[in-house]
């Protein structure tokens, strides 16, 4: 049944899909291609500006949208602070929130590392953030079932 709540969940899922999907597309499809086809200098400026855009989208759209819609969904579900420590739904949700925070920190650090020329660290952070986002999606799918 499509209700206002399902619309809110839709926004939450869509926004997450854009973010995780964007990361996956960039690092799995686009970047390897750029590495092979573009001269180093052009590649660097291009990846930097792509990263900036992605970072801007993350801060300006993604994070507010996820937190806002997430709070809404929690209200709908009747989540309480007490519940977050409870085994099952609560702990899955708090694990998801914690990984979200970690992933946001990792991707922030990635931006910083990339910007300051720490290529190796930037890659570590990017991969960590990417897998972390997949973990969030995994936990989200687990939440639906509980």
């Amino acid at each position: 049944m499509v209700s206002w709540w399902s619309l809110l969940r839709f926004v939450h899922v869509l926004s997450a899909a854009v973010w995780v999907g964007g990361q996956l597309t960039l690092s799995a499809l686009l970047l390897p291609l750029l590495r092979r086809r573009l001269p180093t200098e052009l590649r660097a400026t291009l990846t930097t500006s792509i990263g900036r855009r992605f970072g801007f989208y993350t801060l300006a759209v993604f994070v507010p949208l996820q937190i806002g819609s997430g709070i809404g969904l929690a209200i709908e579900r009747g989540v309480t602070w007490h519940m977050l420590a409870q085994p099952g739904y609560g702990r899955t949700l708090s694990a998801k929130l914690a990984v979200f925070v970690v992933v946001m920190v990792l991707s922030g650090l990635h931006g910083w590392a990339h910007g300051t020329g720490r290529t190796a660290q930037a890659r570590v952070l990017a991969l960590g953030s990417l897998i972390g986002s997949c973990v969030i999606v995994l936990l989200a799918t687990a939440l639906v079932a509980t």
Binding site: H82, Q86, G88, T92, V124, G132, V135
Partner: protein
């Protein structure tokens, strides 16, 4: 390479409760999962064959699998596979270059296989111990042998070592049949091994050097010391005398020796496996010292002197030491600056095998991700039954808690089953369906609850792991008290349906919606003086009968609203209303008129309306209106009367007691015109918590706080009805109850006309020449009286049931000249 993964595994292994009976698992996860993975990675790097990576991957995946509580048989099989893979790697290495150390390590790997196979066969964990020791001790000692540039080992010494190892393996084999004797044989071998290591290892000389060499030597010697302690305990006490001895026997060898070896070798192995420079820092002594000190506290204070605090403090510090070491090693690896990624690009260019293509950043990133995955999933799944321990045959801990699903049905006004019995530790999942006609929900006393469910809607409610009895109820006001309760009790069976709704929760009104729920009447609002002046802004209901209008069709639109209003001096309640007032608006028509009443439900609760003047089965005519919906009720008033209308939604007592009623006046034909007509609706008020809804337990007990005409105690003392001397007055009286009858009486006057039960029982000029003093109006009934007040002055009216008159059912008619 997989430092992050190992760190995660180490943590996971130790996050298993080390002080419960299921603690044995953590030892296996540490031995095979963490150390096994570590050793297998090292061998795979040395062998440079893709297939050799099978062993560490299988071991790592298997451990994570077990740690997060997935089906144990798969995880154990993966661990077994890891052992087989490692053995195969040693065989392959042996073909490349034959050596004693390699052969010994191969024997060690067989120890892994045997241990994993015993585990898979669900044998007692204690039986695995000698084999885990075979794997780790032999592998580590052989490793020392491999680094032979540090050792001066003669051929003779080499033979002695092999002999000791043979005794050790023999002991392990014996232990499978006779664990006491086997362990003693192993203990003897361990003591021999300790002596051999002290004699032959260069560590006792290199300990006089400086820097990382010294650090390693200190770690080695301390480890050898613990190996000797462990060997003495194994030899001296045999198998598993008591828990404290078992703890000491295990941790001397597996923590004291094995972990100290890991600490000592990390500066050599980590860089070679990870192909990163390792910058030694003296700070690494801190975790090393911490490990040995805490282990001493644990074994001496905890196990020998049986101090529980020492045992716990030592155990926790053991874990801290390990984590600190992992952190220290990671820092030593990461903080080293090295020239940019040129080398990794080169590696990509001349990619040979897939693992060679893996650049360090990629592996680091994957490691970060895998740790996130493992920690997050482990936490998300924690608190439920750990199926990683389901094969532990040791403790008699009832294989507590599978996940149990129970279907729950909500309908008016009960919850089925009303009792769910769950074993303590059961993870209870409720599949809740609203089979009723109005909205319901289910809230449990542990805080878990569903959303408000529409009729027909189903949801899954995770009640969590059941550790205590729980109550459950529907939070829609009134529903709990009306019987929508259930409970989860602790017991052996999984569930037993019980049909009779529990009446026990009647007094427990937490579902009534107010902020401070009226579990006890103590939380109910109190009016210190019902006759006191109403608050500023209070307006009486206009008691004048509204005109019936020119048309014979009456179209009205009312909104159903929750309105917070003053219901008595000092008492504010959230009343459920027809169009915002209590009582609702008066409908006025004549016999034969058509009424089209449209109700818009602005509340979050289902309501409906029951016009007493309307005929038809309630299912057909008293259509419920869901929150947000609207409905138009059509009917023709075929009969005259002072009719009651009210909300007929269950629990009706609650809906009526909380304000949902009003009067429908249908004039009889040829009604004589009078100067003034008033409508008085009598009802009872039950104070709930201030600002909340009425107290249902009081409604049930027929204990009103006030009895009122038109919604407010003494309303028409404060704002008297007005008439002129000599006027003929008609008073329509309707009793909305919900429970008490009215005895309508006007002080200083009598009635010359009475219309009750659809007929005039008294009219002026009747042959009997009588008059009426008081008319009885039962709940859900109505009628009218006519009277003429000839002299100016104040005429009180009241219910002559005096106790009710005292608590508000009284007013005044002011008659002027």
């Amino acid at each position: 390479m997989l430092v992050g993964l190992w760190g995660g595994l180490a943590r996971l292994g130790y996050s298993l409760p080390a002080d419960t009976s299921t603690a044995d698992d953590h030892g296996i996860l540490m031995s095979l999962g963490f150390l096994g993975t570590l050793i297998a990675v090292e061998r795979a790097t040395a062998l440079r064959r893709s297939w050799a990576w099978l062993a560490p991957v299988a071991a790592a995946v298997g451990s994570i699998w077990l740690a997060v509580g997935a089906p144990a048989v798969v995880g154990k099989s993966l661990l077994l596979l890891g052992g087989i893979g490692l053995t195969a790697a040693y065989i392959a290495l042996d073909r490349v270059q034959r050596s004693t150390h390699n052969a010994l390590m191969g024997v060690g790997a067989v120890g892994w296989i045997v241990a994993a196979a015993l585990w898979l066969a669900n044998r007692d964990i204690a039986l695995l111990v000698p084999w885990l020791a075979v794997f780790l001790v032999i592998t580590i000692v052989a490793e020392r042998l491999e680094l032979s540039r540090l050792l001066q080992v003669s051929q003779q010494a080499r033979l002695v070592l092999v002999a000791i190892m043979a005794v050790f393996v023999a002991g392990a084999i014996i232990s499978t049949f006779d664990d006491g004797a086997g362990l003693r044989v192993c203990g003897a071998a361990l003591i021999g091994l300790t002596s051999w290591l002290f004699l032959c290892d260069l560590a006792r000389r290199t300990v006089r050097q400086r820097g990382v060499t010294r650090f390693m030597a200190v770690g080695l010697l301390a480890g050898y010391g613990w190996l000797g302690v462990g060997g003495a305990l194994w030899l001296g006490y045999g198998f598993h005398v008591d828990d404290a001895m078992y703890d000491a026997q295990l941790h001397a060898v597996f923590l004291g020796f094995v972990m100290s070896m890991v600490f000592a070798h990390a500066p050599v192995i980590a860089p070679s496996v990870l192909r990163r420079p390792f910058q030694y820092r003296p700070v690494l002594y801190i975790p090393l010292a911490l490990l040995h000190l805490s282990l001493t506290v644990r074994l001496v204070g905890g196990d020998a002197l049986t101090s529980d605090i020492a045992w716990r403090a030592g155990g926790i510090t053991n874990v801290i030491a390990l984590l600190a070491f992992v952190a220290g090693t990671a820092t030593s690896l990461l903080i080293v600056r090295r020239p940019a990624a040129a080398s990794s690009e080169k590696a990509v260019a001349d990619s040979g095998r897939w693992h060679a293509r893996l650049s360090t950043p990629a592996v680091g990133g994957v490691a970060v991700g895998v740790v996130l995955l493992a920690v997050a999933v482990a936490f998300a799944n924690s608190g439920r039954t750990s199926s990683a321990s389901d094969a532990t045959p040791t403790a008699g801990s009832a294989a507590a808690g599978s996940t149990v699903g129970v279907a729950i049905s909500l309908r008016e006004m009960r919850i089925d089953p009303s009792t769910v019995t769950a074993k303590p530790g059961t993870h209870l999942i409720l599949r809740v369906t609203n089979n009723g006609t109005m909205r319901h929900d289910l809230r449990l006393s542990n805080g878990a609850h569903t959303a408000l469910l529409n009729p027909g809607q189903t949801t899954v409610l995770d009640a969590g792991v059941i550790t205590e009895a729980l109550n459950g109820w529907c939070t829609v006001p009134g529903h709990r008290a009306a019987g929508m309760t259930m409970k989860v009790v602790l017991g052996a069976e999984s569930t037993s349906p019980s049909s009779a709704p529990e009446a026990t929760a009647m007094g427990d009104m937490a579902g009534m919606g107010g902020a401070a729920d009226s579990t006890a009447s103590a939380s109910d609002a109190v009016s210190s003086n019902l006759a006191a002046a109403p608050p500023a802004g209070w307006k009486p209901i206009d008691a004048s009968l509204p005109p019936d209008g020119a048309s014979s069709v009456h179209d009205v639109i009312w909104h159903l609203k929750d309105v917070t209003m003053s219901v008595a001096p000092g008492v504010t309640q959230t009343m459920w209303t027809f169009d915002g007032t209590v009582p609702g608006p008066v409908l006025h028509g004549r016999v034969g008129d058509t009424f089209n009443v449209t109700l818009v439900n602005d509340t979050d609760m289902t309501h409906n309306i029951d016009f007493h003047a309307e005929e038809g089965p309630s299912a057909a005519v008293m259509t419920p209106i869901a929150p947000g919906a609207m409905h138009t009720y059509h009917f023709v008033a075929h009969h005259a009367g002072a009719w009651l209308y009210h909300c007929g939604t269950e629990p009706m007592l609650m809906h009526m007691g909380n304000g949902m009623y009003g009067a429908l006046i249908v004039e009889p034909p040829d009604l004589q015109p009078v100067a003034k007509q008033f409508v008085l609706v009598g009802s009872e008020v039950f104070f709930g918590a201030q600002g909340g809804v009425g107290d249902y337990s009081k409604m049930l007990a027929d204990k009103p706080d006030a009895v009122v005409f038109n919604g407010y105690p003494f309303a028409y003392h404060h704002a008297p009805l007005r008439a002129r001397a000599g006027d003929r007055i008609r008073v329509w009286v309707v009793d909305a109850g919900p429970t008490r009858s009215l005895a309508f009486h006007v002080v200083g006057a009598l009635f010359d006309t009475v219309y009750l039960d659809g007929a005039y029982t008294l009219r002026p000029g009747d042959a009997a020449g009588g008059g009426a003093q008081t008319i009885p109006v039962d709940p859900g009934d109505g009628g009218f009286v006519e009277l003429r007040l000839t002299q100016a002055g104040a005429y009180p009216f009241l219910t002559h049931a005096m106790a009710d008159a005292v608590i508000g059912a009284a007013g005044t008619i002011d008659v002027s000249k």
